[in-house]
Symmetry: C2
Subunit: 214 residues, 2 copies
Amino acid sequence: MKGATDQLRSRRTYHHGDLRQALLQAGIALARDGGPDAVVLREATRRAGVVPNAAYRHFASRHALLQAVRSAALAALAVAMEKQLARLRDDGRRDDFARAGLRAIGTAYLRFARTEPGLFRTAFAVSGDPETAGSPAMAGKSGLNPFQLLGIALDRLVEAGVLPAERRPDAEYLAWSAVHGLAMLVFEGPLRRFTRSQARSIERRLLDMVEMGL
Amino acid sequence: MKGATDQLRSRRTYHHGDLRQALLQAGIALARDGGPDAVVLREATRRAGVVPNAAYRHFASRHALLQAVRSAALAALAVAMEKQLARLRDDGRRDDFARAGLRAIGTAYLRFARTEPGLFRTAFAVSGDPETAGSPAMAGKSGLNPFQLLGIALDRLVEAGVLPAERRPDAEYLAWSAVHGLAMLVFEGPLRRFTRSQARSIERRLLDMVEMGL
DNA sequence: GCGCAATGTATACACTGTCCACAAGACGGT
DNA sequence: ACCGTCTTGTGGACAGTGTATACATTGCGC
């Protein structure tokens, strides 16, 4: 029943074996239902079947653990994007394919925010530390993080002649802004009680806006 | 030096007088530098020169206090928008004026996020409780909250013939999404260390995108 | 002027992050 | 094969938090 107790029982050795991973996994579970504030050091150690202070052998602070969880959440988002991209079929028309690529990114982003609100909020919680932006810990199977995947989709738009090259620089910020803002509205703001189809409709219009306005 | 002590000294009566307001004010100050997580019940009571539990006579919980602070932050945003709107000069051309109105809303929003990051983050922190959306506590001098001000700007766009009427419904969500997303990027995300002019440029492009893509 | 409702206080509990000193075990050099 | 050292986990402690429950003080309406 209680994973914590199981894990505690199942460990008869003094050393845990892979405590860092266990703590990270527990942290992810906590973030999953409860968002960033729910990832609590003591609870994570409890679930790992270990005394609170043991965590400090692997993470300098609660904040460090949270950053690790954050990276994992971003990686999950990247994987979701890659999956959505993989479903695309190239019909030969390069411009359509490029456009579909950008939409796939946006769609995956919004779906992730809807289906994993806790992880989503954790991924984009405060802190910031933009220094760690390039870390591979937050990447998907392709080794690219969500921002980089978006950048590639935009590059393809330019290659296909859909997006004028002079508008390419910094375009990811515009696209990301729109989609991220909508995601915030969808899972917490006033759009929360919209029906599925209403939400879909707005999502489509927003992606239209981005496509037209970029 | 310490406002807390001053306030504590300055109260010689058993009753505080206007504790609710004092707590709210302290909460706003805390949110101002530190964001939502920094608005801490005990610290607020300390600054009000009162024992922790006294707060519970005016707020059911820390969360209730935070909601009040949130409303105040939204009201401040509404005031900022109204100010920006008031600076507009009508040159006779209705379409230009309507467009400028929407841009003023967006500009005020972004400026607020930049100059008052703590309040901004508090205003749009989790929780949600969309039930309280109509509360006058989060309104500006006009009695309208930020969302309503945005709605009016969009109505004007329709009246001026700039925005087709069939695209009016739910348009506030599209516009808000874009601007809000950019605000998040600006004050915490990867855009934080952009120069002022770089940020300005991106803001302008984003507002262009909204105007064209709505 | 008195009694009651409102407001502020005292004490207490469970919970958190984190520091310090110590114990248990892994592991490599002799 | 041993023994010392370095890593990892433990125990106990402290300050800080939100909040419940019981009590004190005071303003206000009759």
